[in-house]
Amino acid sequence: MTVQSLEAILLTGLVLGSLYALISTGLSMVWGTLRIFNFAYGSFMTVGAYVAWTIADKSALGAGIWLGVVIAIAVLIALGMLSERILIAPFIKRRDVALIAIITTLAASLFFENGAQILWGPRLKQLPAMVQGNVRFLGTMVDLQDVIVMISAPIVLGLVALFLYRTRLGRAIRAVEQNRDSALLAGVNVPLIYSLTFGFSAGLASVAGVILGITRFITPTMGDAPLLEAFIVVILGGLGSLGGTMVAAYIIALIEATCMTFLGLYWTPVVLFAIMILTLVFKPTGLFGKE
């Protein structure tokens, strides 16, 4: 193994890891708090990217990428809260809500993906880079945009952690996640917390969608593959641990980058899914999962 390839692996791993950390945190928040898996999460990334594109691209509104990001986050938080009201809230008291949510969120995902195709067309789109230029990093020249991606997860997730650990509302979200009944008895508005959690998670999805839209392309099904990767990350990291999810994101990303270099595109998913299966067999609670 040459030094160059090691550097390349590390770089790819850090960029990918940042992206996966963002995606899987949103997914794991909903999983931990509402106890359901949101299959529409990938399509939230898609819609977020398209909204940002509409604001930012010169052929659309042309207001710049930064405004695009802000508006995409706001729109997706609202869309997430609305989705929870329609897809989850009517069924939350049922014992089989986890199964129903699979169906309703899958349906929503089809709805959003096809809706995006109708609204924005099937042609590939791309978001403009946030910054131009290169910097020296780890001894190699790195695209400045990659650096932005690399630091985006630590910054965004740092803010999320501040919110969850230092504010009244954030504490209430954690309380509902840890003990729903006791949270109810303390006067926490649990339905509102469910809705907000879904909204925040969609907001995180939109940040990830924008990053995907800059580094890859925007298509109606762009969220599908990253959602699968995030699924593996959440299983490896375990439930109810923000830090665990982050660490797992970087582990998976570095493994993926290594496999891509030595095994190639074809065998990488095999390795990743093998990790998922081994986790489920030998440590179903994940590396850092509770209970």
Binding site: R168, R171, A172, R174, A175, Q178, N179, D181, S182, A183, L184, L185, A186, G187, V188, N189, V190, G240, K290
Partner: protein
């Protein structure tokens, strides 16, 4: 007599298909403390859960200060001031003592008084003050129970319902907690206390209700008559079948 602060009328409640409460009626006057006792699984906890809104009544009505409150959500009832400290100190395991207490004051009414609440809890349980930043799951059983009561106190309730607060604790810690409960009672807050220890209930409450098979089978106002420990104990452990009907003086059999 003034209208009761809390009034439960002909309450029927169950889980799924299984009925637990079969027509329970109780009332609680302002500043009054009542004790519930009886065998496990006969509806004491179910009654508290229904009053606090965790369970919805199948039939019957609950009023607080004259207004119907049955059917309201737990959150609305906490805002009203009905606080339940659940059995088995189920708290928030991955939160610190301080964070648990702050969640206890989550309701708007209590949030404004949270500093006052913290002071009161730490005065009552100095041990919690020492362990402010410790994670809840690392506390001992007794400390967890103290924290559970602290979380309840942070809600500044108009009615405090304690569900077996000393269950499964070592005698020394039991005494400590009982002293704290006595101090809370001395503030005059109306209480519904579920306990297995009759001596403790008799010392602390104005009335005792025996809950059996989803009904209140005996109500004993021991302010009026000489307390007859022995007879109640006999009834409780010996079974009601052997009890003479005239023992249920002032009680209602529904």
């Amino acid at each position: 007599m003034a209208p009761p602060l809390l009034e439960v009328k002909d309450l029927h409640v169950g889980y799924g298909e299984v009925q637990v409460l079969r027509g329970v009626s109780i009332d609680l006057q302002d500043k009054e403390r009542i004790g519930l006792f009886g065998p496990n699984g006969h509806g004491k906890t179910t009654l508290l859960k229904t009053i606090s809104g965790l369970l919805r009544p199948w039939k019957g009505e609950i009023r607080f200060a004259g207004k119907v409150i049955s059917g309201k959500s737990p959150r609305e009832l906490v805002e009203v001031g009905i606080i339940q400290v659940p059995q088995g100190n189920t708290l928030f395991p991955r939160m610190s003592v301080m964070e648990n207490l702050l969640i206890g004051a989550y309701a708007d009414r209590a949030w404004k008084k949270r500093r006052q609440g913290l002071e009161r809890v730490f005065e009552l349980f100095p041990r919690l003050a020492e362990r402010k930043s410790q994670l809840c799951r690392t506390l001992s059983g007794g400390e967890r129970q103290m924290l559970a009561m602290g979380v309840g106190l942070m809600g500044h309730g108009q009615v405090l319902m304690l569900d077996e607060p000393t269950l499964g604790l070592a005698p020394k810690i039991k005494d400590e907690l009982r002293e704290a409960i006595q101090q809370i009672a001395a503030t005059g807050v109306p209480m519904i206390l579920v306990e297995q220890d009759l001596e403790f209930l008799l010392a602390l409450t104005d009335r005792l209700l025996l809950v059996q098979e989803g009904r209140i089978v005996l109500e004993k106002t021991h302010a009026s008559s000489e307390i007859e420990h022995a007879r109640i104990l006999e009834m409780y452990f010996g079974g009601l079948d052997q009890a003479e009907p005239d023992l249920a003086l002032g009680g209602k059999i529904t």
